[in-house]
């Protein structure tokens, strides 16, 4: 079973994604506080990270950039998502695998995840 770490500061979206991915046979760890990302990356060892861009006082793109520099996490695929569709145009330098604008089709989300897991 593939392990996915979901980070979003909106609890509702977080639980929706968790339910959806669990139903689709993924092992999901969902957190709303970005401060916990480091420990979770270390403990949970996800195969893919689903990361919100606007996380209150942190920017998902910066977190993604940091992940790329650390040896342990540099190979983990990252999918960013945001309610600001324009963000998709500014993800190049953080080297995220994909960007999904909110609101998204769940099937599209699943397909994108599957694409980057293989």
């Amino acid at each position: 079973m593939n392990k996915i770490l979901v980070v979003d500061d909106d609890i509702d979206i977080l639980s929706l994604v968790k339910i959806m991915l669990t139903m689709n046979h993924f092992d999901v760890e969902a957190i709303s506080r970005w401060e916990e990302i480091d420990t979770r990356l270390h403990d949970f060892k996800p195969d893919l990270v689903l990361l919100d861009v606007s996380l209150g006082d942190a920017d998902g793109r910066d977190i993604c950039k940091q992940m790329r520099t650390a040896k342990e996490t540099s190979a983990i695929p990252v999918i960013l998502f945001s309610a600001n569709a324009e963000m998709g145009k500014y993800i190049d330098d953080c080297r995220a695998q994909a960007f999904i604008p909110k609101p998204f089709e769940l099937s599209y989300l699943i397909n994108t995840i599957k694409t980057y897991l293989n």
């Binding site: 929706l16 339910i19 139903m23 569709a85 769940l106």
Partner: protein
């Protein structure tokens, strides 16, 4: 009817100055001519009265000795002394005619009754003068002179002519001066007017107008600048608000959409499934509305940026048509001859335009009407034509249909929406150096947009 309000401010200023000059000069010339003629008359009266007195003095002896022939002879000499005297008569103290003279060809005797009380009288072109003949304080007769004033008429005509010529020259100068001076006032006003027009047409609040004067026009310009600044600030606040609001709206919408989607997948019972699908359709509609609102605020604040890449128009059209066919009855017919035309542009935004036009076409031609897609290729451009068989667009509507918040006035066909779709389409196409317009077809209408083909895009962009 002639209305002063209809004249431009420039012409009004000229007219005002020319009219003032005309009025002042007319009064001046009028007074000048009047006093001139009056003093001429005065001089004439005085000289004629002196002449009459001289005649009177000279005829005292003829009256005393009752010698009318001598008097007559003296009167005849008047012809040489003063040819303007046309008649002269001497009365004796009984009031009988003693001697008289009249210019050849004229009737002899004519005396105005009023002369019995007065010393002179102007009547028409003639001057009548009378003078009593006295000897040792005793009136022994009277002299009457009738003077023709042909000279006065000539002077009058000459003065009037001169005045008219001077008036015309003065007015001409006044016009030229006014023409020069009016620009000082009108130029600033006209600049303000043209800026205001520009702002109301484009909605673009340009730089504040510069004016270093201290008069009312300067105040007007300052107030205008202040207002524009306030509008600009309000616009910015509104844009910020819409940006934040649509972001906040999207977040719960994501959750709603997700759960409905899951329900849809799980639900097997047909009625329930139908309800869920209805909810889904409306969530999607809501999503589009929010996106349109956000797009418009981006367009307004100049934040809409295009991600330019090369893409295949045929592929995009196929994808878009398939997407529209999924939600509407499959009645979109492709008659275009697209092969592999490459466009340099923002694929996502062009897709948005296509989606908008196609869903409009489907929406506005209800029933079993079809929608036909056609294309045309020129050296530089690619034209995509979307023909519907709906109620059509009137000539008047064709002008406004691409404006913000414009909605069809035809109340029999009422569809929801903000009326932003076509406005966004026009903005996107214009940014691609293309054009978008609508033509009337029978029945229905054809929405056409042009995009420069890849090889001509760069040159068109530099020209623009």
């Amino acid at each position: 009817m002639f209305n002063l309000r209809d004249i431009s401010i420039k012409n009004k200023l000229i007219l005002m100055q020319v009219f003032t000059s005309l009025l002042v000069l007319s009064i001046v010339f009028g007074v000048f001519i009047f006093t001139d003629i009056n003093s001429y008359k005065q001089r004439k009266v005085e000289s004629m009265i002196s002449l009459a007195q001289v005649i009177g003095t000279n005829s005292i002896s003829t009256l005393q000795f009752d010698d009318p022939d001598a008097a007559m002879e003296m009167l005849q000499d008047l012809h040489n002394v003063s040819p303007e005297i046309i008649r002269a008569t001497i009365f004796n103290n009984k009031g009988e005619i003693f001697a008289q003279y009249s210019k050849p060809g004229l009737d002899s005797f004519r005396i105005k009754d009023v002369l019995k009380q007065r010393k002179f009288l102007f009547s028409g072109d003639e001057l009548f003068v009378s003078s009593a003949i006295t000897n040792n304080n005793e009136v022994i007769g009277k002299v009457y002179l009738d003077v023709e004033l042909s000279e006065l008429q000539q002077t009058k005509a000459y003065k009037l002519e001169l005045a008219a010529v001077l008036l015309i020259i003065a007015l001409l100068f006044s016009f030229l001066v006014a023409l020069g001076v009016q620009t000082y006032i009108s130029r600033r006003l006209l600049k303000l007017v043209s800026t205001m027009k520009n702002v109301s047409e484009t909605g673009d609040y340009a730089e504040p107008l510069g004016d270093d004067g201290k008069d009312e026009i300067a105040i007007l310009i300052q107030v205008f600048n202040k207002l524009m600044q306030q509008i600009k600030e309000n616009q910015q606040k509104k844009d910020e608000f819409i940006g934040i609001a649509s972001h906040e709206l999207k977040t719960p919408l994501t959750t709603i959409k997700g759960y409905i989607e899951m329900l849809n997948m799980m639900e097997q019972e047909p009625t329930k499934k139908q309800f869920v699908e209805k909810a889904m359709l409306n969530v999607n509609k809501l999503e589009r509305l929010i996106r349109d609102l956000l797009d418009v605020s981006k367009i307004q604040s100049g934040q809409l940026r295009l991600e330019m890449k090369e893409f295949n128009m045929n592929e995009l059209l196929t994808e878009t048509v398939n997407a529209v066919q999924m939600v509407s009855a499959p009645r979109i017919i492709r008659e275009d001859k697209l092969k592999n035309e490459i466009i340099y542009g923002d694929r996502q935004r062009i897709e948005q335009v296509l989606l908008n036009l196609l869903s409009n076409a489907v929406k506005y031609s209800p029933g079993e009407n079809k929608v036909i897609i056609d294309s045309e290729k020129t050296d530089k451009d690619l034209l995509i034509k979307i023909r519907d068989f709906g109620i059509g667009v009137t000539k008047d509507e064709q002008m406004h249909i691409f404006e913000r918040f414009y909605r069809s006035k035809d109340t029999s066909v009422h569809f929801s929406g903000f009326g932003l779709g076509l406005y966004i389409c026009r903005d996107i196409i214009t940014r691609h150096c293309g054009k978008i317009w609508v033509e009337k077809a029978d029945p229905g209408s054809i929405f056409i947009f042009s995009l420069p083909l890849k090889h001509s895009f760069k040159t068109q962009q530099t020209e623009a």
